[in-house]
Subunit: 312 residues, 2 copies
Amino acid sequence: MTGSFIKVFAPATVSNLTCGFDILGFPLENIGDELSIKVIRGKRIRIKSIKGFELPFEPAKNVAGVVARKMIDELRLDFSFEFVIKKGIKPGSGIGSSAASAAGVAYGINELLGKPLKLKELVKFAMEGERLASGTPHADNVAPALLGNLILIRSYNPLDIIQLPSPADLFCTLIHPHIQVKTKESREILEKRIPLDKAVQQWGNVAGLIAGIVQSDYSLISRSMEDVIIEPIRSVLIPRFDEVKKESLDAGALGCGISGSGPSVFAFSKGEENALKVRKAMIETYHDTKIKFDVYISRISPHGAYVLERSY
Amino acid sequence: MTGSFIKVFAPATVSNLTCGFDILGFPLENIGDELSIKVIRGKRIRIKSIKGFELPFEPAKNVAGVVARKMIDELRLDFSFEFVIKKGIKPGSGIGSSAASAAGVAYGINELLGKPLKLKELVKFAMEGERLASGTPHADNVAPALLGNLILIRSYNPLDIIQLPSPADLFCTLIHPHIQVKTKESREILEKRIPLDKAVQQWGNVAGLIAGIVQSDYSLISRSMEDVIIEPIRSVLIPRFDEVKKESLDAGALGCGISGSGPSVFAFSKGEENALKVRKAMIETYHDTKIKFDVYISRISPHGAYVLERSY
């Protein structure tokens, strides 16, 4: 094994999708992390370089290191890995930065080992990275980053991951303001108990969103994209959230909400033309601020992590 | 108008369907109330007779009277109605006894008037009957009793009612033990605030149930039929609930839970043969008690209320 090398790409992901807190997510096209993984002798995990953004080199404090450690231990490997991490996603962006690295490592190691595990079985390893990053081992970013497509985490215990069909004309427009929201902190501000009547509203919307997605009913998708539990609390951490949302909807978006724990904000539109109008509206809302930002347009990507390069 | 007469049937309904508290319901075949409605002079509503079960004759305290009053007022009618109510559903059974009467009255009056309102527009009138009966104007019984099919109440404000397709082979087996559980009381014991993590579990299951139903994925339906919020509290009011559930699942049911607010317990099965096995299991669980009970097998009925007889 020693010396074997693989380079993988793992995509950024949008999770929660308004009413689907902790249970829904999908990967974006063309945005993500690149992970180069080399099999090395011994038991020590090494992080050789991290490009793009600053992250800890100590394996126990790095998502890649934590996922690798879990796999080495559970699969009883008698060798280790060296990583070169090229971050394409800023940490704390709300589009699954930690998840991309976690999913990429789990996927890459599994490929190096000759695929002993199925993609769904890799999710629990990648979730260990999320535990480190956010305090909670949620799966709504790592599962879509591994599997591709719109993903429902029906249950965490036992883990039950369902790939949903997605409407052909559904486009996502996403704005990523360059401020950092730490997932851990944005979880801590949530209330531990919620009113039953709000919960009923939320699962009514979840039911509508799923029925709309599976049946390609864009109007139902639009009516169902409402989050009465999380958004009212988290949106205060995002500058101009209300304006971005209002302008996106006015520009023709089906719905708009926080991506993951923010600060990224996403909107769904029917058709690319509408998605472009929403892009324009998002840019106009932010362009007179001093906050830098990126804007992306993407379909729900059918691709999870994939191999870029390998050698034996 | 005076003298016009109609007789309608309105079906019993199963609501909640485990994880879908207050948002999901469907009508049963062949079980329900018959309402005879005659247009009379004046403003006074009259309840001439009530057969089957005892209910108040005073219109303001009777579901039929309350729904009729609401329609007379809102539609500014200068005449009134006389009712003969033949209850086929015991009040407090958990299969929408009040809802059947409420839906039947709204449907019947609308027919007598020449259908000025669409079926979905009748739901809010029928909900007034539920407000009287349970303290909360929920729609997950009256909407399926009016519209037929599996119904999702996506939102109450504004009211958004969605008809879902249902799998061809999905059968319901239902046991109705003859003890009374008052909806009002079974609502009062629920907690007003619920833990966020349980709510996430619940909406994961709701999402799975809807995806399973729309895609006829029986295994997913089965895995999703879990209620971590309401059932643990309400099931204590139902004698032998845990046994009925266990035996039904052992007999091959996809899932089992409380119908409405109980005491009826329903199970879904794939195919009539399994539904019959579940019926046997339910009967065996109850047969040595002193509680009388009925057992029904039904598909998800595509029919809401309908006309039995009319004269002008």
